[in-house]
């Protein structure tokens, strides 16, 4: 019976000390950790808010300006009159 009491006291004591030491270790770690107010200048500049994006253009599903169905997509390339890298751009279409 005496042995059981002794074991109980030792166990309670060990648990109390362990709790106290764990609390103190946690306190010390938090005390030395960098705080949000101590962030670097670079981190602060990176955290600047993004500008508001311009609104998107409305989506046109009609295929062309007047809404008529188009049999195939035309590419809006102007008739080549200029040069490309010092050489003229040619057009072929029959004659």
């Amino acid at each position: 019976m005496t042995r059981i009491r002794l074991t109980s006291v030792l166990l309670r004591t060990w648990m109390a000390l362990t709790s106290v030491f764990s609390f103190l270790i946690g306190w010390a770690m938090l005390a030395h950790a960098p705080k949000p107010t101590q962030a670097s200048a670079a981190a602060q500049s990176a955290a600047r808010p993004l500008p508001t994006l311009a609104p998107l253009a409305p989506l046109d599903l009609s295929g062309n300006a007047n809404g008529a169905a188009s049999s195939f997509t035309h590419l809006d390339i102007q008739q080549p009159q200029g040069m490309f890298g010092g050489a003229p751009i040619f057009t072929t279409g029959g004659s």
Partner: protein, 321 residues
């Protein structure tokens, strides 16, 4: 940087371009002079041309120049190779369809009415007799030939050869039928846009090409109205009437402009059956067909590339790059 000279000849716009170096202006002038001189020899619209003299001699032997002999031999070879789809002897049918004078004259004075007289059976080009040794030919009685595109191709090729002797790289284009020699100065590729046959102000396809030749045949370019019907200049030798296939234009890229000219015409006249059959057996040429329903068919070299590309979207490299 390239020097560019453009002028009108062969009823179309001609562009000469050559690398700017000493003597290039003389080369451009010489090439222009050659083109204008050759046009006077091979035009069916000029009564004093060598071709007109040949047509007037049908039924008799006629001495011809070495150059005309070369063109006629090429015509004979392509006539056989295309099983008659390429046939320069369609001139009577072309005249009957209203194209009996130049497009400039037709636009100025109007088209001639269609003859009500039944046309006699038309001679086929295969009936021509060519004596290469004695440099003379004999057209069958009643035969008349129009060298049209093949003569233009021969002239442009010769002009490009002449220009290349003086200055490389260089290019010659006559109404969109063109020859490129060498690569452009920047080391990249020649850029060629294919017109929308229904809206020439817009391009529907762009090509980047190396040294090669490009020709396009179109049923929407040389057109006129005869007796209320829209007619064009590409006669189907099988019917004697303007071709009625589903192709609006065919562009062919080949090593030779004469080859490109002939195949562009044959594919447009022959239609789907031709470009899925005969042309697919010619890996040395590429073709781009704009159909009347808006589809663009290409082949044969690009066929394997197509699944990853939208063929309507601008710019991909042809195999000649």
């Amino acid at each position: 940087m390239m020097r560019v000279l453009d002028f009108a000849a062969m009823n179309t716009a001609v562009i000469l371009a050559a690398e700017a170096r000493t003597g290039v202006d003389d080369a451009l002038a010489a090439a222009r002079s050659f083109i204008e001189g050759a046009e006077r020899r091979f035009s069916r619209f000029l009564p004093e041309s060598e071709l007109s003299a040949l047509n007037a001699s049908a039924g008799d032997w006629q001495d011809i120049s070495k150059d005309l002999l070369e063109i006629l031999l090429a015509c004979a070879a392509f006539h056989g190779e295309t099983d008659g789809l390429f046939d320069p002897a369609i001139l009577p049918a072309l005249k009957n369809a209203g194209y009996d004078k130049s497009m400039v004259e037709i636009r100025a004075t109007g088209v001639s009415p269609r003859s009500g007289v039944p046309q006699p059976p038309r001679s086929r080009f295969g009936e021509i007799k060519i004596d290469s040794t004695r440099q003379r030919v004999r057209l069958a009685p009643g035969m008349q030939i129009d060298l049209g595109g093949i003569a233009k191709g021969w002239i442009v090729e010769r002009a490009a050869r002449l220009l290349a002797e003086w200055s490389m790289p260089c290019a010659v284009s006559a109404g969109g039928d063109m020859v490129f020699r060498g690569y452009p100065t920047d080391g990249r590729a020649w850029r060629v846009n294919i017109e929308d046959p229904l809206d020439p102000e817009r391009a529907i396809l762009g090509l980047r090409l190396g040294p090669c030749a490009v020709a396009t045949s179109s049923v929407t370019k040389r057109t006129w109205v005869q007796a209320g019907h829209l007619r064009h200049h590409l006669i189907d030798p099988r019917t004697g009437e303007p071709a009625a296939g589903n192709g609006l234009s065919v562009t062919v890229v080949a090593d030779s402009l004469v080859t490109a000219e002939v195949y562009a015409k044959a594919l447009l006249i022959g239609g789907q059956q031709e470009y899925s059959g005969r042309a697919s057996q010619r890996p040395d040429l590429s073709y781009y067909v704009v159909c009347s329903d808006g589809r663009i068919t290409t082949g044969p070299a690009e066929i394997e590339q197509l699944p990853s590309l939208d063929p309507i979207h601008f710019e991909y490299a042809a195999p000649h790059v």
